[in-house]
Symmetry: C2
Subunit: 466 residues, 2 copies
DNA sequence: CGATTTGTGTGTATACATTTG
DNA sequence: TCAAATGTATACACACAAATC
């Protein structure tokens, strides 16, 4: 028996040496599961380090590493390099954002809807398409990526966002999220790494987990993600892609400045990263601001997969987004679209196309602009907080103290009748500057007013004032 | 340099030692991919054994094993213990079946449509839904898994297929393929293995590759997949799931017998495999045959994810399938549905629900039955070949010689004006009994007659007669 | 049928990257 | 700021199981 440098007495978990069978790495986790179930170990307990436990059991430390890894895959453990391996807090509690399980009386500022009152303007188009002569063409398998006319409309619309692309590089998919899933499956492999803003779209984090990709969060300053930090992380480890929402980051509402876009593009070009550019909020900038900033697709067309979501822009029920892809990876992406979706609903696509080609689009846009502006004004009336760099964001945030957990704060507001999301949902790591996010566009202005009042009345004890 | 017991001259593949970088196992596969793309290695070539290649490269043989394993995950290699490692049938060339790139004048017996003439019966329902009072409810984010009424209809319809399940275990997804993608992401991890019939749904193979899962093909006899072989493969290596089309295998048209279902279920239960049961052709058996055989979902409800596709049954343009899931993995599956789709088109779902609740469903079914029966009769008039165990299959096969490649045969028929698929599309390994598959339901009977005549006139030189 | 060939599963050695204090 | 602690990635050794000849 080797002389131990570790004090066996201090082990937080002591598996039974006698019960250890081969394969060791499975047998170990089996014991661990039993001990968790029996309550002998509680959530968030730090397990012995790989080397400590290996020493105790007289095996190689990488075997313990293997066992822990197996536990991570099963969702019962998580690790932090430098600090150790821990028992998961909520193996089956996912952070996904969906409308499920929210009582009807709760004012939902969590899930981001888009002023759903405008949906009524879609109905006449829906009826027109259902009565049209070509409706039968919408009911078969043909043109899985969209019909020539639909794609031409897409191309024309995209040009207004400074995207110039041949039709063959556009595909219609079932929403931005669906497009991201298709892209992740097509061009990344398990274990690949993707850089994101430190706070980013919660469902992107979830999708990355689903596809076994690692998120590398990068800090930002007032102009957006910091290029120097991106370059540093790229040097540290192989990074394969970057996910960005340049028009209006979710949840921070930040818009990346023009100069910063070029600075980031230089790094991205040099490091050969694939850019996933989620421009779902393009309309918040491109129609509401005098100047359209160049999207990454325009700066790095060979490396960028661009997603133009129509759900927030026009109607959340018509599940359509335009996906613009570089020619080099067109085969993989088309292949992935076909394998994950077979095809996107032609009916939804056609209705959307009709709306875009009609004055209804401008009408909806004008209404949404007015409401977005007024909603921000309303928020400013309640809370004296600086606006983010996008002047008319869909999200506003209120800083909260680190002393309260996500669960505590969210549950408390839910009990008071408002659903808000804590910033922990938008990041993979613990952060020093937590906040709650309020989605301004999820209700009408009357309900927004009521909900903000509830928040104002109850926020005092949580407020963080730096 | 060690003395080699292998003759270096006999290596079927000689990677460049100088270009070999670390990590070796990746670098090796990178070279292999290049060599395949450059045509220096052809499909189904046997690669050097792990030990041979390791000896040649002066590395440990398990490192070569690691590299080969990585290639298997990518879908470009397959191995057989005792006989060696081979380049896949479809390495780096996508076998996905889509309508793309088929000239209009070509009679398409490749892609499986479903007597699209019936789609006209859907139109009135589509118009009715678009004019209904609740149409606005179809345009928002709510109820991502389907509305209570839609789910109730699904539950009722499923009961006719011998599926009894609470509503909470049903989800609406955008077609079977979409449901499979969601399921693979939810419950398997890269490297997991899934058993399938030796010939199986081409797009399932593709999806498995996309998610880095390994296909383990199992042979069948007249009653379906052989349980003894399944048990044997499970003993050989860890298998995590099984994909089955019990009503009507694509492409063989085989229906698994009742007894065989129970025999397979015994193994599956014992080995704790997840069953992915694609019952898209349920209507071919459940309505056309006097007796409904029990689906695996009924035999093993705790282990089965059941997919009931509505696209072949009713209309290929309404992208809806019912997914039935075991309670134990409901959280993961709901999570995956939400992350990959956000939600399925409510409009499509509602139209479909209306159709199922109306006499139109029975009308379409009757017509499809008549056409399927007549199409099979027509095929029998042209070719004297035994029918598979499903008496009214959507597919019929003609055995061809091994001396002609997939490309040769498919291209030749394409030039003659007919698209058919070679059996190589439906398998990952080289097989001794190739055939071409003819999808009977892809056209109307007149076109079918014309197409079968073309095949008959040109098949002679390819025919395999055992 | 049994020796040989071939791939697989498990544990280990080593170099290294990240975080902590 | 840097050493120590901690986990990770890669290659390897060895026992073994299945298929081939």
């Amino acid at each position: 028996m080797p002389i131990s440098q570790y004090d066996e007495g201090s082990l937080t978990w002591r598996p039974n040496k006698e019960q250890l069978k081969r394969p060791i790495y499975r047998s170990l986790i089996k014991q661990l599961e039993k001990d968790i179930l029996a309550g002998r170990i509680s959530k968030n307990t730090r397990l012995p380090s790989q080397r400590e436990l290996a020493d105790f059991l007289d095996i190689n430390f990488t075997t313990v590493g293997q066992a822990y890894h197996y536990g991570i895959e099963k969702g019962i453990l998580y690790t932090n390099i430098g600090s150790g391996t821990y028992v998961s807090q909520n193996a089956l509690h996912h952070i996904t954002i969906s409308t499920n399980n929210v009582a009807d009386y709760v004012i939902d500022f969590g899930l981001v809807s888009s002023f759903e009152a405008c949906n009524q303007y879609i109905v006449p188009h829906l009826q027109a398409v259902s009565r049209s002569k070509y409706v039968l063409n919408l009911l078969n398998y043909r043109e899985p990526l969209g019909s020539p006319e639909q794609l031409k409309t897409a191309q024309h619309w995209l040009r207004q966002q400074r995207i110039t692309t041949p039709i063959k590089n556009i595909a219609l998919v079932a929403g931005v999220q669906n497009g991201i899933a298709i892209t992740l499956a097509a061009i990344f492999a398990p274990g690949d790494r993707i850089a994101t803003d430190r706070y980013t779209y919660a469902n992107f984090i979830e999708l990355a987990n689903l596809f076994h990709l690692e998120i590398v969060p990068i800090d930002a300053d007032e102009e957006g993600m910091r290029p120097d930090l991106l370059a540093m992380e790229c040097k540290k480890k192989k990074i394969n892609g970057i996910f960005l929402m340049p028009s209006c980051n979710n949840p921070t509402g930040q818009q990346i400045s023009e100069q910063r876009r070029y600075e980031l593009a230089a790094i991205i070009r040099h490091e050969k990263l694939w850019v996933l550019e989620d421009d779902i909020h393009a309309f918040l900038t491109n129609y509401f601001q005098p100047e359209i900033l160049p999207p990454f697709q325009a700066i790095l067309p060979e490396q960028t997969i661009y997603f133009a979501g129509m759900t927030k822009f026009l109607c959340s029920g018509l599940r359509i987004a335009y996906l613009v892809m570089p020619e080099a990876i067109r085969p993989q992406l088309e292949h992935s679209v076909f394998n994950i979706n077979v095809k996107t609903s032609s009916f939804d696509a056609e209705v959307l196309t009709q709306v875009i080609n009609s004055p209804t689009a401008a009408k909806i846009l004008t209404e949404k602009f007015t409401m977005t502006r007024d909603a921000n004004k309303l928020f400013d009336d309640f809370f004296q907080l600086p606006r983010p760099s996008n002047p008319y964001p869909y999200y506003r945030n209120i800083p909260v103290r680190t002393t309260f957990s996500q669960q505590q704060i969210e549950q408390d507001f839910l009990n008071k009748g408002v659903r808000v999301f804590h910033s922990a949902r938008f990041t993979t790591q613990q952060q020093a500057d937590p906040f709650i996010r309020i989605a301004l566009s999820s209700t009408n202005l009357g309900v927004l007013d009521k909900g903000l009042q509830i928040i104002k009345d109850n926020i005092a004890c949580y407020l963080r004032e730096d």
